[in-house]
């Protein structure tokens, strides 16, 4: 079964450093997402991406965050200057279609970011 893959699985970084989390979505999917989950809390939407631009973003996704699809396969999340509260599990997801049209959103295994 096709799957969304994410790297790294775990990264420890110092506060103020830049971090790039990488994702390879399922190959025939066109819609890409980043979610995050702070330890013990629910999964929160960050951003959706389609046709090389952001479709929607949450209030969490401030100027410190950016997304990019640098080539035909990777989808990246960059945090420009990490803060302690950015420590979380970051999930990449992809879907073939948007919205409630019979699609299923597939999640990766997550990248655990620890900011120290």
């Amino acid at each position: 079964e096709p799957e969304v893959t994410q790297t790294p699985s775990h990264q420890v970084t110092q506060m103020g450093q830049e971090v790039i989390l990488r994702c390879v979505p399922i190959s025939n999917h066109l819609y890409f997402y980043w979610y995050r989950q702070i330890l013990g809390q629910k999964v929160e939407f960050l951003v959706s991406f389609y046709n090389n631009e952001i479709s929607e973003k949450s209030e969490i996704f401030d100027d410190q965050f950016s997304v990019e699809r640098p080539d035909g396969s990777n989808f990246t999340l960059k945090i420009r200057s990490t803060k302690l509260e950015d420590s979380a599990m970051y999930f990449c997801a992809s879907s073939r279609d948007p919205g409630p049209s019979g699609n299923t959103i597939y999640f990766g295994e997550g990248s655990w970011l620890t900011v120290v």
Binding site: Y33, K42, S55, E56, G99
Partner: protein
């Protein structure tokens, strides 16, 4: 703001029993709901979905019930197994955006 939530943070059941996990949602305009299972250290895994024009949908050992009148969603797991132990989230998709709104999660503990 609108949110999707679950009634109980933890549910403990005996192996072989049926489990019922509940969820209340607040956005009456939501028309697509998904149940996810999340095992420790892993991403959410799709279990079953339901559209708002249905009130019941069955999968393998799982059934989702939707009551739009009271905005209530439930996941029934038949003959619960130790491998079912996980956190279960309900989620709604905001129409036409693909943006999932997750509930808080219920931890299902299966006792042997």
């Amino acid at each position: 703001g609108e949110s999707v939530g679950l009634h109980l943070p933890t549910l403990s059941v005996q192996e072989g029993d049926n489990s019922i996990i509940n969820c209340a949602y607040s956005n009456s305009a939501s028309d697509y709901f998904i149940w996810y299972k999340q095992e420790s250290g892993k991403g959410p895994q799709f279990i079953i979905d339901i559209r708002s024009n249905m009130d019941k949908r069955q999968g393998q050992r799982v059934t989702v019930l939707l009551n739009k009148t009271v905005k209530h969603l439930s996941l029934q797991i038949a003959a619960t197994q130790p491998g079912d132990s996980a956190v279960y989230f309900c989620a709604e998709i905001a129409s036409n955006t693909g943006k999932l709104i997750f509930g808080q999660g219920t931890t299902l503990q299966v006792k042997p």
